[in-house]
Assembly symmetry: C2
Homo-oligomer: 478 residues x 2
């Protein structure tokens, strides 16, 4: 019986074959899209020196890092010197510092690997989960932001999503807004955390929280007026639903830009952020992804290392985001001693899979069987012939299961059926004598005898594959 002893550890998951196939499908599509954007694959160890990670994710992050005990005689000290990867961004920054002379000046990399966080497990929140990151290092150009947005959008479209919204904001714009509202710098982080809840708490809830966090009433009123103005525009344009990517999106974004210019005025840092947003929209228009973008000045995102644009992708039927990212021009400097501009985006594989499963977005073929055909075993004396047939069909590119034991034929058929294997081959005494093989279609029940040397073609025909030569797709160098 299953027991606590045999369950995977808390918050982590075993992936049985059908799960792995779903995950590999999603990863495969994302990789293919990222490669089309010229991104190159990078992999880093699951384990990092503990100093590499500590202090990079804020106090809460420090608590959630899995720490590895020293080994050998030092194990008794109870100290940790290593830790499990917490995200893919900090390892990237370390890699860029380490291999700066080997990497291209503009380094476009993708990385799809698991990360570990000792979070409280909940629906859709795991302690081991995959991130799919793309980052560009070495340029401050907004071409980078636009390309990252287009790549993430293309990946989601390739997976079958068409109702997502890409929310874009800018850290400097937030600084400008808060400064102009008279929020003192030491209250900016508090104010950002409140603003980030606009979606859930609404303007009044946010106003109350602002005052609870000690933001002066006058500032809170200014902020609320600004954000209520934005909400009014959105409402007037019928864009209450996140999913609505109508033509009014461009007009809305233009309106938001105008209001930002007005509110931020001559505030230098803020105005430069508004310029960045304007460029991102312009470049995104060139790749046609602008229709999916919604400027959202309430978007803050938690991570401390962002310095410029911040991006988040949402769908209506998921509370969290499908992915997020932004510019972090100072992180590499923490390892290298000199800054390297950087911007990245991370798709959340687990959430994408949750939504795709709930919506039935996986291609049906993915959940089919593991083999095209099962070769049965007639009796102890014919095992060799069954193995030889299996081997021959494999050389023709077919996926073949050889039943391992000389069980009763009915039992063997039942096994093939239960696994959804579409065809079964039988080499009985009669077939043997005639140099034939019986092929049974497991769904129709039909059975036909074919000459031994015609089995591969018969099956390839049944699967709609080209008939003829043995398949050589896995020859060396292919």
């Amino acid at each position: 019986m299953p027991s606590p002893k045999t369950q995977p550890t808390r918050g982590m998951r075993d992936f049985l074959p059908a799960d792995v196939r779903k995950r590999e499908y999603v990863i495969g599509v994302i990789k293919q899209v990222y490669e089309r954007y010229g991104f190159e694959p990078l992999e880093t160890p699951a384990v990092e020196n503990i100093e590499t990670l500590m202090g990079k994710y804020g106090e809460e992050g420090n608590q959630l890092i899995f720490k590895i005990l020293k080994r050998g005689e030092h194990e008794k000290t109870g100290e940790a010197d290593l830790a499990l990867r917490y995200d893919l961004t900090v390892p990237l920054a370390r890699v860029v510092a380490q291999y700066q002379n080997e990497l291209p000046k503009f380094f476009r990399r993708y990385q799809i690997q698991p990360v570990w966080r000792a979070d409280r497990p909940a629906r859709g929140r795991f302690r081991e989960f995959y991130q799919c990151d793309v980052d560009v290092l070495g340029s401050r150009s907004m071409v980078v932001e636009a390309e990252l947005i287009a790549a993430a959008s293309d990946a989601l479209v390739a997976l079958g999503f068409n109702d997502f919204t890409i929310r874009v904001n800018h850290r400097q714009v937030l600084t400008g807004i808060l400064d102009q509202a008279g929020v003192p710098r030491d209250k900016h982080n508090d104010a950002l955390m409140s603003l980030d809840k606009m979606d859930k708490a609404g303007p009044e809830g946010v106003a109350k929280e602002l005052s609870d966090r000690g933001v002066l009433n006058d500032s809170a009123v200014k902020l609320m007026c600004f954000f209520q103005g934005l909400a009014g525009v959105e409402h007037a344009m019928g864009m209450v639903d996140l999913g609505d990517a109508s033509n009014s999106r461009a007009a809305y974004n233009a309106d938001v830009l105008g209001r930002l210019v007005e509110f931020i005025g001559g505030h230098e840092i803020g105005a430069s952020g508004v310029d960045d947003l304007r460029q991102i929209l312009q470049f995104a228009k060139a790749s046609g992804v602008d229709q999916r973008i919604k400027l959202d000045p309430t978007l803050a995102r938690g991570l401390a290392y962002y310095t410029g644009a911040i991006i988040e992708i949402n769908v209506a039927d998921l509370a969290g985001s499908l992915g997020g990212g932004g510019r972090y021009d100072n992180l590499v400097g923490m390892f290298l001693g000199k800054d390297v501009p950087a911007c990245g985006f991370s798709l959340g594989l687990e959430r994408i899979i949750v939504v795709m499963s709930e919506r039935g977005m996986f291609p049906p073929a993915l959940v089919s069987s593991s083999a095209d055909l099962m070769v049965t075993i007639w009796n102890e004396d014919s095992i060799g012939e069954s193995i030889a047939l299996g081997n021959e069909l494999r050389s023709h590119g077919l996926r073949v299961d050889v039943y391992p034991e000389a069980d009763k034929m009915g039992k063997q058929f039942k096994f093939a059926s239960s696994r959804g294997i579409p065809f079964v081959a039988i080499i009985g005494d009669d077939e043997r004598a005639k140099g034939e093989v019986a092929i049974k279609n497991m769904s129709s029940g039909e059975q036909q005898s074919v000459k031994r040397n015609a089995v591969a073609d018969t099956l390839r025909q049944a699967f709609g594959q080209p008939v003829g030569e043995a398949d050589d797709s896995i020859k060396p160098g292919a």
Copy 2:
């Protein structure tokens, strides 16, 4: 400058893009072969409860397990409750116990994931490395052993290996040999460790070690006579070199079987092991892999959990093995309370890559560039057009890099060159006016102007791809 702070942690590796491509190529080939054998993918968490792993790998193994500190208020205790996966076999046994009602009666799974061991790093020995395992659960039939051997062999052949030897032995045969030589049971493990060194130490070295380990001289002499007899046959048949897979292999194996029957005689356990070996050879003959098999009664393999056949694959130019495996009928029982027969084989990805790199076995295309084309940026005003061109070419299935900044053209060309990107697109003022794009071949230096709407076809032609419709290979469901 690179500093200790930015290196990967001791014994682990960062994989830059060229490395990842090599690894993915090898993994892809192995997966494809394993799928042809009807194996299904399984993945388990990197982290296991510490009790799951402790005591499964012997005392030395316990020392090499990376242990994870408890979290939160328990961190101070210095105790570990979790640990990093040490191999893929113990997690498989746990999974089979946990999901026994969901898994098929015969479960054929492959698993390709990293494992972690706190070993002393050395050439080819890492603290994080990948294993590629195939296992069949649920059957005691030697069809399983034969299929595993054929699958591992096919995988190596598909990668371009043709000089490997598959050494096969049997734990029960070893028991029979040692019993018949009069080695007391409590000295069997010592004797096995000595015998395992036959390759390196030779018969005399082994004889000396046997006596050092307290095996009586009379027993040691009997053993040495038996093994020197085998070595004599091997020498006589010209099979001194591991790589020699001549027709004499079948004769040699038949001779070894005969000598085993003679030496083991009526020893029941041993004789049943010899029968297994005979069947494995017979079934392997059906799939043609018997030519690569060499019965080797000196093969012992360290792992304590093997109960039947043991297998190891070697090539002449590698001290260790390319992979190994065997039957372990009792391991699942440690989790489930009742035994489930099992047999598996693990290919060592890291060693395969080492040998393939040294021998130059990777297809040259793997080390080529990350993009088919780079779109340059003529000036600040034309950024949008460059992005739009890039986007269009991507929709035709091309891998396109857009240079992010309006640098001098020479600088942009140099960047493309240094990355090995074969083509560069330029939309200068002239081209813009005429509705054309200039395409520069970076190796020949030739430049031609083509109509904007003919760029995709021109490039696809250059890459030998079918010309015409936009590529839709990454549509949902494809």
